[in-house]
Symmetry: C2
Subunit: 152 residues, 2 copies
């Protein structure tokens, strides 16, 4: 027996836009993530960051990716019949993310089609735009997701 | 006065291959990362993971990305006159990463050219291949980096 989910492939038609998130990062979180995964001076050292081209501590781009994932999980993915993702395209870090910034996500479905080889699965291609509190886009990426179809 | 680095743009000519890393993930680390950033059942819940298509706990794809970044930092990036990255292409999660897997990285320079608008900076395009202890490629991505030139 398959678990029942709230959302299936049919719930993400082309052109669908979902906005969600609203997560405020602290400097402590930025430094903690970067010390573990991306210990470049402008992510972990306030003094070095001040003298870098960024003028202060900025978040690792991978931290922004991870937070985008978390906001996506909380908004709909944990209630979606998702079968994972084979990958991403066009990941762009557009603006620095700084301590105190509040991030939200706008997710747009660009493409949706059933898989020919597996008719119970559908593919979607989404664009995630991560925006800060000034409505500036700080990151963008496009990714494929495999979802079960409700009707199959 | 600019800080002196060990590596500059000139040190990454087209065709250069660097192999590094060798990091063994524990299940605790996988679960801890995923609880914070990607709490899908097959990343955080052993029982649910057993009954998923993966047959057991697997690491979040973002965790693999973050570990690839850390291995890159340790291998050369912290000693490189790096000016950051505008983004990535063709990120592919090719095989599951499981508790106990040992990951290493093969980094290949695909393209290297000076920036026309800023002659003291060079661009490189690298492909990172993340391999496990069975020599299977678990992840691949291509990314751009901006580096200072030694001679400018």
């Amino acid at each position: 027996m398959s678990k029942q989910f709230k959302y299936y492939w049919e719930d993400f038609p082309v052109g669908k836009v979902i906005e969600f998130g609203g997560y405020t990062l602290t400097q402590d979180e930025i430094v903690r993530f970067a010390k573990e995964f991306d210990p470049q001076p402008f992510h972990i050292d306030e003094e070095a960051a001040k003298h870098s081209m960024f003028g202060g501590i900025i978040a690792s781009g991978w931290h922004t990716c991870a937070l985008c994932m978390r906001m996506t999980c909380d908004a709909y993915l944990l209630e979606t019949a998702s079968l994972g993702s084979p990958g991403l395209e066009n990941l762009r870090w557009l603006k620095p993310v700084r301590p105190g910034d509040t991030l939200r996500v706008r997710c747009v479905t660009l493409e949706a089609r059933p898989m020919e080889s597996k008719p119970h699965i559908g593919l979607v291609r989404n664009r995630w735009e991560v925006l800060n509190q000034h409505n500036e886009e700080v990151m963008q990426m496009e990714g494929y997701g495999m979802l079960r179809r409700r009707s199959h």
